[in-house]
Subunit: 191 residues, 2 copies
């Protein structure tokens, strides 16, 4: 959109249509209900278009997820505290988990589908690497005596689509997020 310089009008239109069709299908059925044939049909485009635009099923879901999390990413790296730089690590950590938890709760099905589609190379996903790096830095600051790299992976592992769904179903809207925050706090408290 801004300054890309080279995307034809029909291409942009189709991109939007495909993304919207995908989220519609995700909403109305489980993650495995989203086949690329169906997406293409619902979007009113050919299957080839979907693949040229997004490369693969994993790429499509990744793009959708990226769209959902771009704002948080920006806020974390250059927004005002406590999300952005400037606040103490503990406050930034809680604010970050609040934001990430909101995304996860609002997109649990998408999250589950994405995990399934990525499988192998989920650690290569730039979005994952960003969250992991951010968490690692905050944890390292709060608890320099622990293995922040591993803990960052561990905290992100909790953001499992199915787990989010299960916890949210039986605990209410923000229960998952609050639980993750409490866990992170427990990890940060020194004995």
């Amino acid at each position: 959109m801004a300054g890309q310089g080279a995307e034809r009008a029909d291409a942009a239109r189709n991109r939007r249509a495909v993304l919207e069709a995908t989220e519609r299908l995700l909403a109305e059925g489980g993650g495995d209900h989203v086949s690329l044939d169906r997406v293409a049909a619902l979007a009113g485009v050919g299957k080839g278009t979907v693949f040229r635009r997004f490369g693969s099923r994993a790429g499509l879901l990744q793009a959708l997820l990226e769209e959902r999390s771009a704002a948080l990413r920006r806020a974390v790296s250059e927004g005002p505290p406590p999300l952005g730089p400037g606040a103490p690590a503990r406050e930034r950590l809680l604010a970050f988990l609040d934001g990430l938890g909101a995304i996860a709760e609002g997109n649990a099905v998408l999250l589950a589908a994405h995990e399934q589609a990525c499988a192998e190379d989920k650690f290569a996903d730039p979005s994952y690497r960003f969250w992991q790096g951010h968490l690692r830095a905050l944890l390292a600051e709060a608890r320099p005596d622990l293995d922040a790299d591993f803990l960052a992976h561990a905290v992100l592992a909790v953001f499992d689509g199915e787990l989010v769904r299960a916890v949210t179903r039986e605990g209410g809207p923000r229960h998952f997020t609050r639980s993750v925050q409490r866990m992170a706090l427990a990890l940060c408290e020194r004995p």
Copy 2:
């Protein structure tokens, strides 16, 4: 085998052959290399046999995993301390994580394939429910002030096949297990 009363000799032979073929395929390629056609061919049986025996791809992998973890399950519920009942919660927790970590490290590919195949209903898996229940009880005893149920899910979420592989690859044989133990300890320590 013991006291089941009703399994024909050929059925038992085929069951073993299928399980062995599955682990052979898992060892020699990624989890998605294990197609049921291939398993059947390598085991020298028909595809129908695999499905009658195990119900589905998920069932096959679950059976294999169950086989690998039966001993730990038994040791935890009726073995001697510190794994079995009798030791303080902290020691039982560390011993349990040591055992589960060993299984995870030795079967990371199987673990990843199983996660992929189960997807939806992984919380219904009796094995998962057992581990979760055990962890919950130990955590509740060590930290009654925290949400043990959620923490048990969170700790198990770390046992992700791909994460185990990645951590083991770059950290050496028992690095994953030690890291999980340290994390659990950090959670148990009161501020």
